[in-house]
Symmetry: C2
Subunit: 662 residues, 2 copies
């Protein structure tokens, strides 16, 4: 059996480039990683037969196909896309698979993804802001006596002050109903769960009381409700560690893919209640799964985590998702002037939301800024630490709607713009989500314009996902296949042809792919893509204008959201989606919304700060800013009408040339 | 038809005493009022024939009986107990009905009830503490526009600040769910219901929102849950006026007459839930009745008061009743060391208590001091104004348990003592509640020891109620029929005889009364009464000791509770129930508990003060104070072993003599 931790070295000839790879990677992904083009249309299905290579030292698993004769196989010929690396190998890329003239010229650009920012609880500790809002304390009370017949509640509250210095406590009805038995079951040794106030002047609530010692068990939940996916984590509130994670599709998807469709459904009779029920059911399922799968703290006596031990939940979501969860009528979110019911949400009980959590469990909803800059973005600003940094930062969450925040710990400006669904694979002839079969990476043989398609799951291509689209457009543009307006240049090549929607590039032929048609990218698709990236760039530019800054002033760019992790930074700058900056300045925070929710579970400082942050965040309605339209018009070119903003794109274009005639 | 407001003058001969009376009073109550004794055993049933008088001028209605011949009737002879006064009359009391020797000697003591303190809302206004915790405000919001697309909730909260200077507002989920429609139904003219914080630093809660103008309609409830009776008032929170009142028996009575019996029932399986359900049902019935009978404010548009317009309820009750209402296990209240679950109760929603009130309605429970000094007493201290007075005050609520508070605005000390049920007509051979047929007033013919029984409802006697018992014992003692120990002196009289429980006085013979036996008061009954009054006096004395004061220092005595209004002050001092003070110092506040609840509905100052008052009230557990037993032993005499404490009783005894031999 292969040691899954072992890495193997793959060396490609004739370029002699090598790479360390994980076991079970394919040769084609290894080539892509070191920046070598291999013609490959079928994305790993092993049907196009174009990606043949010769294994010269060592061997790979699989890699055979009907396009390879048994004699060739014995000589080491393999399909790169289906060859699985199980040991160190040396592989030659023959001329017909790579670039036609000589090995050195086969290099293609490496991919630069943003540096991942890994959140570390120790950061919170070092900053002195690890102070979970829920605390459990164990204490031994004095037993009642004739000279000391204080009421149970009064006794508890006084002893919390006298023994532990905890003052200004208040106990609600549920604790009052439990306290008599809870105190007496273990001879007045008891554990209380306190909700500590965000504001020091306020009172602490005694949420729960248990007989005996339970203070080592204190759990909370953080949930991000995305339009598409719901994520949850179960957290140990005593030390911040994550004990379980789970995610699932947002079941509201069946009633509409985007927020507008959900709002329309919610306007129907009983639609709002149904939308709420669906998402609440999903969260309840996540909770059950996490409880079942959680690794509890070392505690032989009590074992697994019970639902009753969850004391707090923080939820972050965009404004529409938040409205649906709270059963607030969202209809004005989609109608000018885009007025949500509320952007601030008071502390709730989890049971108020029909969550299957104990009566004492508190629920916090992240506040939003506006109809289209939601609690998910605020959570991202909190979770990424943007609100505490000195550095001038651009925070950007790219999706159907892109949310943009610019600022630092002193000030924050934000806006949302509608990019359309291109980055999620929507609105493109053969666009699709980033699931199996989606072309997510690509390179071009500069001699033949033959594609190298890398697909999700190494399956036969089915369509193009957002990250693939970005790279394809950038590559076609860099090599001069398309011009600044996204129109095809006059190039004679079998992959370029006149289609129903103008000129198009054929990524995979019908017989090489899993679709029942050729997979193409046409001029209308490219135009949609350009409009999407233009909206985002214009948003960033307008917001920078509004605060009197320029791209060069940005010290940091934070990417959030699912798309952010897949973005090839060079491609993003080539097309003018992101401003051209040093890629080192760009970090990716992953699901910033979930991270913000998690941090609010762990820090009252952050709960307090969020109120200030929201007050500080000046929201710009881009449609109301005249300059936005100008910026947009200037941006609907590759990379921009002002190519001076993108000097490196010009350099890259100069390096990458194709034969002018074929 | 008689003008019900007209008064008539009744003049009695030979004493020539006269009195103004209301129409429909009887001659016997008129005589009692001016202090004239008329022999009367049957309490108005008209059967004993002893109370015959002669109407000399004018005439009365009824007054005939089989004991009066038609000739006598024509001569003006009437039964005083059934003669109804309809005009000015002059009446002669013949020797056989009054005292035997001469008119001047027939005088009997007048009754001195405590001055009634009528609560007046203007007092609150004058003191600057009319500030109801719930306020309704109507305002016209700006309509959303592209340049002003604040969220509905944010818009409302900002405009409350900008237009009305109301800051620090928070809206809960129910308001969020209503606001979208509520704002738009009347073009952004809206009325909000605010719960103003008791503490200025806290936030105001927006409890409710209505479309259009509704700020003139703002209602609240005050409820007193007595062990026996539940009282409610419906209050206009805009001006403090009472719009409806209602009361009913506490239906828990079927499961036990006193708090101990209720606690025992609540300890049974499901007993606690049942106790809660019973009292909640009773309150819900009161609420429905009050809504049906309420006189709404002048408002042709909206008409009667709907349940949804009730924004607040304040409830005062003793500690056990409060525990049962909140479903808190009361069992330790009845077991040494008498530990209640809680004495402080957080603000609740009325629906948390299953009250049939709107979701937004807040509920306030009066805090208690201890197991036996409950929220009803605290409410009394608040409602009577004791906590704001400079005068050194004794507050006393006499029932099965007597609660005693001494102090003024600077300090307060309190205690409870168990008097037993004598004052409520319990534990006495022929004791009964103060309902129809109960002997509630009494005088003695000093010549014949013939009784004058005045009964509730002028019906034939059925038994003796608490106020009657007090007067009977005092009268028997003043005339020397019983001695300082409550034992009968050796007097030869048909009404005094040896009974099953020692000597006894016959108040009414079987054939004169509604019972199937003679109605008597025996030495065991008198002993029970003396023990009851001794417990109370010892409580007062001990509490005075504890704070280093004496009776002479008291500047005011406040009587509260049902019994207080019926107490004849002279009798109460004669027997040593109340300390001997100038009766002018004594006031009666009626249902202090209900009054306190009502005032808390009208004044946030009082809601705030109550927290301080409770902290200030030092509770003494009398059973833990050694001196209490000494005081008790000294008090189990009439009026007291130290007769120097009761100089006027000595004077009264000297004035009232009976023939030593008959």
């Amino acid at each position: 059996m292969t040691d899954p931790k072992r890495q193997f070295t793959v060396t490609f000839l004739p370029s002699n480039k090598s790479s360390k790879v994980q076991p079970n990677e394919t040769l084609i992904t290894a080539a892509r990683k070191v920046g070598l083009h291999i013609n490959a249309s079928c994305g790993g299905a092993g049907v196009c037969g174009k990606c043949a290579v010769i294994v010269e030292q060592g061997d790979v698993e699989d890699g055979n196909s009907e396009k390879i004769s048994s004699e060739e196989f014995l000589q080491g010929r393999r399909q790169a896309c289906t060859s699985i690396i199980k040991e160190d190998v040396t592989v030659r890329i023959p001329e017909e698979s790579g670039r036609q003239k000589g090995g050195l010229g086969t290099e293609i650009p490496l991919r630069h993804h943003a540096r991942m920012h890994i959140f570390n609880i120790d950061e919170l500790r070092q900053e002195g802001i690890f102070d979970p809002p829920v605390e459990k304390l164990c204490l031994q009370l004095k037993e009642p006596a004739p000279h000391d017949n204080r009421a149970d509640v009064g006794r508890l509250i006084q002893e919390l002050g006298d023994q532990l210095g905890k003052h200004r406590m208040v106990a609600g009805l549920p604790v009052m109903r439990k306290i008599r038995a809870a105190l007496r079951e273990k001879d007045f040794l008891t554990t209380v769960t306190l909700e500590l106030p965000v504001n020091n002047k306020s009172k602490s609530h005694i949420l729960n009381i248990q007989p005996g010692k339970w203070n080592h068990r204190n759990f909370g939940l953080a949930v991000d409700i995305g339009t598409t996916t719901v994520y949850g984590v179960l957290v140990d509130l005593n030390n911040g560690t994550i004990l379980a994670k789970d995610s699932c599709y947002n079941p509201q998807m069946s009633y509409g893919e985007d927020v507008i469709a959900r709002i329309i459904y919610a306007e129907k009779p009983k639609g709002l209640a149904m939308m709420q029920e669906l998402v609440v059911d999903a969260i309840n399922t996540l909770i059950t799964n996490m409880l079942n799968n959680a690794t509890p703290p070392e505690d032989k006596e009590h074992g697994g985590i019970s639902r009753d031990e969850i004391n707090s939940i923080t939820i972050a979501a965009n404004t529409t998702m938040t409205h649906l969860l709270l059963q607030l009528e969202p209809d004005n979110i989609r109608r000018s002037p885009y007025v949500p019911v509320s952007t601030f949400f008071p502390p709730l009980r989890a049971t108020d939301l029909n969550l299957n959590l104990p009566e004492h469990c508190t629920a916090l909803l992240y506040p939003a800024i506006s109809s289209y800059v939601g609690g998910d973005i605020v959570a991202g600003v909190m979770g990424s630490g943007m609100y505490r940094t000195d550095q001038l930062t651009l925070f950007i969450d790219i999706g159907t709607n892109a949310e943009i925040v610019i600022g630092n710990k002193e000030w924050l400006a934000c806006a949302a713009c509608s990019a359309g669904p291109a980055f999620e694979g929507g609105g493109i002839t053969h666009g699709m989500r980033a699931v199996e079969g989606a072309i997510s990476d690509f390179s071009l043989n500069p001699d033949t314009l033959e594609p190298m398609n890398v697909t999700e799951g190494n399956k036969a291509p089915l369509g193009i996902c957002g990250s693939g689209l970005l790279i394809i457009v950038a590559t076609l543009f860099e090599y001069g296949v398309i011009n600044q307006s996204g129109k095809f240049n006059d190039i004679n090549c079998p992959h370029i042809r006149e289609g129903r929607s103008g000129m198009e590039y054929v990524l995979a032929w019908k017989d090489e792919c899993a679709a029942d048609h050729d997979i193409v990218l046409n001029e209308v698709d490219i135009d949609n893509f350009i409009r999407a990236k233009a909206a985002i760039f214009a948003g960033v530019s307008t917001l920078l204008d509004q605060v009197g800054l320029q791209v060069g002033d940005l010290q940091q760019i934070i990417l959030a959201g699912g798309f952010g992790s897949y973005i090839d930074l060079d491609s993003a700058m080539t097309v003018g989606l992101l401003p051209e900056v040093n890629p080192e300045k760009i970090i990716y925070v992953g699901n910033g919304s979930l991270m913000g929710a998690w941090m609010s579970e762990l820090s009252n400082h952050i709960r307090k700060d969020v109120v200030q942050v929201v007050r500080k965040m000046t929201s710009f309605e881009l449609s109301e800013v005249a300059a936005f339209k100008d910026h947009y018009v200037a941006s609907i070119f590759l990379p921009h009408t002002d190519s001076g903003l993108f000097p490196k794109t010009e350099q890259r274009k100069a390096q990458r040339t194709i034969k002018s005639t074929m």
